[in-house]
Each structure stands twice: as structure tokens, then as C-alpha cells.
């Protein structure tokens, strides 16, 4: 499917979706409360997004406009139709919560655990939200921009 066709399908399914085509792929911005339903449609609807190949998070707090902003980023592709989209969901940095998609794409289970420990995002209804890599007694979220570790890091 071309980007125009993808946009038509997505707008029909979720009129509130906001598009951005500046990158390599079509970017779709979705509200956090609409995310779970939209994710299920992505997997099972016409788009048939059966492959979640990247799940990560961005901390914008070092930028002037993003003081209280985390963004979840999901990259999807369809192995049958070969189209790709990027879905971005803005989260409140002081209380980041989003529904898990690990029941839709099984790979998200580990990646959400990683984002959970490195950014502190709570994935609601995740089956096993434990730390993945860090030690059990680790304090703080090391990939957040305001993370400080005076023992191991110098301030630049």
C-alpha cells in the first residue's frame, strides 16, 4: 500500500490520528487512550501489521517544548503487503502509563520490560513487568535525560 492509501485506511479507522511524512516512513500520532484499540486494528484490520520490529521510547525533557513529554515509538511492517508505518504515542513524563501490546505482538513483552526499566514507563496489563537487564537494586531510569549517577558519570 502507498502512504496515501495507508492514510485513508487509518483515518477511516481513527479520525483523530495525526500524520507526519517527513521521515522515511509514514508517522502516525495517536492518543494514549485510543492506542490499544488502534493497535488491535493495526494487527487484525486491512493493514495486517504482523511484525513489530522496533519498540522504543524518547525522552524530550532536554528540549524547550518537551519538558514533561515521553514519546513511545512503535515501528510496524506487514510481511505480506510490505508496507511500514511508525506510530508515536505521547505520554505524561511525570506519570507515564500506556496499555501493553504484548498480547498482540509477543515480541513487545521483552521490549516493554526494557523500556520499563530504562525509562520508567508503566505498561498496563503487562503479564510480567519485571526488570530485564539492570540489577534488581538499581535506582532511577538511566536513559532519562535527567538521570544522574555521580559515581560513574561526569556532567558534560
Amino acid at each position: 500500500m502507498t502512504n496515501e492509501e495507508l492514510k485513508q485506511h487509518i483515518t477511516a479507522a481513527l479520525p483523530a490520528a495525526v500524520f507526519d511524512e517527513t521521515g522515511e516512513w509514514l508517522n502516525v500520532q495517536v492518543e494514549a487512550n485510543a492506542w490499544k484499540h488502534f493497535a488491535q486494528w493495526l494487527r487484525n484490520g486491512q493493514l495486517n501489521m504482523d511484525y513489530l520490529f522496533c519498540l522504543t521510547c524518547i525522552d524530550w525533557s532536554a528540549t524547550p517544548t518537551g519538558k514533561n513529554l515521553l514519546t513511545m515509538v512503535y515501528h510496524f511492517t506487514s510481511t505480506s503487503a510490505r508496507h511500514t508505518i511508525v506510530v508515536k504515542v505521547k505520554l505524561d513524563r511525570s506519570k507515564p502509563e500506556i496499555e501493553t501490546v504484548s498480547d498482540i505482538w509477543r515480541t513487545a513483552e521483552f521490549h516493554e520490560r526494557e523500556v520499563f526499566e530504562l525509562f520508567g514507563v508503566q505498561f498496563l496489563h503487562h503479564p510480567d513487568l519485571r526488570r530485564l537487564i539492570l540489577t534488581d537494586d538499581f535506582e532511577g531510569y538511566p536513559l532519562r535525560k535527567d538521570f544522574e549517577d555521580p559515581v560513574n558519570m561526569i556532567k558534560l
Binding site: I133, T135, P142, F147, D149, N152, M153, I154, L156
Partner: protein, 188 residues
């Protein structure tokens, strides 16, 4: 620099030439005069088996040195062993992170004496050119285990690793290692 390296290569490859002691040819045999420690060190330095241990990209250079083009078995680093109990030297080829540090310590403890350590590359020396300002990286493997020879570079050239291996051999031949000195001091 190049000349030095060539000289090192030459002297090490003709290791029979630098036998520590005098030999006297006599009818029906010969007499060797030397000290026992010198002969032990000479023998040890020419049979150092490295541990198969690499934590990042320096490991690729180390494998290159082990393979036929550079071939460190020419100098007695005969074969890389997959168990610390059969290894004499550990080449720390790569970044050591906080979670890897206890593993490195355990591997080192499991190696039989005498044991030697080479810190290969910027990460093993100081944490590295990329990841040093991080919550997760040990700023130099010598925070965990004692290091005999350091090789700068990112990654070091295979020739640099060969030079370090030969430097380690010369260090062993020249006398006691840190561990041996420590063990002697412990004895009354």
C-alpha cells in the same frame, strides 16, 4: 617504532637464541649453567595459552591475530582455550560493564597460577572512547583484576596485539610477576 617491532619479532621467533644460561659442549654431552627460575620463566613465556574471552569488537581483532595471517601461535600462544582452568593469559578484548565485572573476576580466579592479563583496547584500559560516561561501564578492567600489559587503540592493530604478547613474554623472562612477588612476601 617499526624497527623495534621487527627486532622484537625476530628475537622472539628465534627463541632458542635467547636461552637464559650458558651451554658448554663436552664430549658425550654438555653442561648447562643457569638458574632454575630463569629456565622456568623462559619455558612459561614461550607457552602461554590465552582464554577465549572477548566482550566486544576488539575480539574480532583478537580472532584475526589467532588466524593464519597473523597467527600468534608462532610465539607460543598456541591455542585459545575455552576454559579458564587451561588458560595462562586472559586478553580482555572489549568493554567490561558492571554486570560483566564479577564474571571477569571469577574467570580470573579460576585460572591456575601463574596467570597474566592483557588489557586490549581503549575500553579495557579506561572504559573506552564511546561508553565511558555511562552508568553501566567499568572505567578500566584494572579496577577488577590486575593487568600486566596495556594496548591502546580502538581497536588496536593485530601487530599491536602481537607486540603486547611479546612484551608480556619479555616481562615474564625478565623476572617475577606481580603474583609471584606477592606470594613470596606472604611466606615467612
Amino acid at each position: 617504532m617499526d624497527n623495534n617491532q621487527n627486532n622484537d619479532l625476530k628475537s622472539a621467533s628465534s627463541s632458542n637464541g635467547d636461552f637464559p644460561g650458558q651451554t658448554y659442549e663436552l664430549p658425550g654431552g654438555g653442561i648447562i649453567i643457569s638458574s632454575f627460575t630463569d629456565i622456568v620463566n623462559w619455558a612459561r613465556s614461550n607457552s602461554l595459552w590465552p582464554l577465549t574471552f572477548a566482550t566486544s569488537c576488539c575480539g574480532i581483532e583478537m580472532m584475526s591475530v589467532a588466524s593464519s595471517k597473523y597467527d600468534f601461535s608462532r610465539f607460543g600462544f598456541e591455542v585459545a582455550r575455552a576454559t579458564p582452568r587451561q588458560a595462562d593469559v586472559i586478553i580482555i578484548a572489549g568493554t567490561i560493564v558492571n554486570k560483566m565485572a564479577p564474571v571477569l573476576k571469577r574467570l580470573y580466579d579460576q585460572m591456575a597460577d601463574p596467570k597474566y592479563v592483557i588489557a586490549m583496547g581503549a575500553c579495557a584500559i579506561s572504559g573506552g572512547p564511546f561508553f565511558y560516561n555511562t552508568y553501566s561501564v567499568v572505567k578500566g578492567a584494572d579496577h577488577v583484576i590486575p593487568v600486566d600489559v596495556y594496548i591502546p587503540g580502538c581497536p588496536p592493530r593485530p601487530e599491536a596485539l602481537l607486540h603486547a604478547l611479546i612484551t608480556l613474554q619479555q616481562k615474564i623472562k625478565s623476572g617475577l610477576t606481580r603474583e609471584q612477588i606477592r606470594a613470596e612476601n606472604l611466606q615467612p
